[in-house]
Symmetry: C2
DNA sequence: CAAATTAGTTATTTTCCATAACCATATCCC
DNA sequence: GGGATATGGTTATGGAAAATAACTAATTTG
């Protein structure tokens, strides 16, 4: 209804790119949560599993750097995924402090299905943007990311 | 150093706009936290104060809608700002359930200074983008936001 | 006027994120 | 070789953020 009026109150904040990024991101993350619910995955378990699939043998500490999650907080995530038999920890024989993380067959199937669904749902959100728009957006976001 | 190698592990996730949005947003929000620290403001107190300045007399429930924060969670925020004498609650005489929120002189000065600093710091992050790039980005983000 | 709605609040829970401290193993370097 | 130092994973803990249920006072609706 009166979306204009309501949202007008945040006119000051709308001057900030950070604010707009957050609003846009909220749409994606709310959507992501919905899409992942049937798979009993959250954003962080999804990201973790997807990364392990892409980089089998990756270590928890590497995962921590890549996903920008503190090491301690990843332990429970990895535990959970292992308990559900989606990934497994294998002792590294060269460095016996470390584990390599590997997907199981189940985990692999699950994440591929989930990835596809996430893809589909993102496409819906972005339906009003052209391919060029999306490429442009991706590029701009990448430039922001690499600017630091 | 080997940023390429490390970040390469998230190649799967990089296909998602949502992931890139989150990464970009993280840069802004980490920066924002730093800029606001000297003012003893957090993102949420900053947004609240800025909105009250722009819309004096706004109600907590309106604020809740605008900022997408649950009502109960705003109570403590407003309490805090009021305790610090940055805003005040004034009973609405037409509707005596409600309060209007108004900035104090102190609050107004503080937020204007903070807003300026945030502006400056955002500009630094966006230094490598042209004005056109920024306009383009803003427009794309707005389109995403209004697509739902 | 009774019922339903709205504004604000309290209380509580869950999740998220960060920090400190620890054990086991590996590396450094004298 | 062996002690100091660093690294990988873990435990424990606390604070901040976000969500829900339920309550009160006041207003609106029928």
């Amino acid at each position: 209804m009166n979306n204009e009026i309501k949202n007008g109150h945040d006119a000051v904040l709308r001057n900030f790119i950070g604010y707009r990024l957050k609003r846009a991101m909220n749409i994606f993350s709310a959507n992501l949560a919905n899409v992942l619910r049937p798979y009993d995955l959250r954003m962080i378990t999804f990201s973790t599993l997807a990364t392990v699939i892409h980089s089998p043998g990756i270590r928890l500490s590497q995962l921590s750097e890549v996903l920008a999650v503190e090491r301690p907080n990843l332990v429970a995530i990895v535990d959970e995924l292992q308990k559900r038999a989606l990934i497994e920890r294998k002792r590294d024989q060269q460095d016996r402090r470390a584990f390599g993380l590997f997907p199981t067959e189940t985990g692999s199937k699950l994440i591929h299905e989930a990835l596809h669904q996430v893809d589909v749902s993102e496409a819906k959100i972005l339906a009003s943007l052209s391919q060029d728009d999306i490429a442009q957006l991706t590029q701009l976001l990448t430039r922001i990311e690499t600017s630091v």
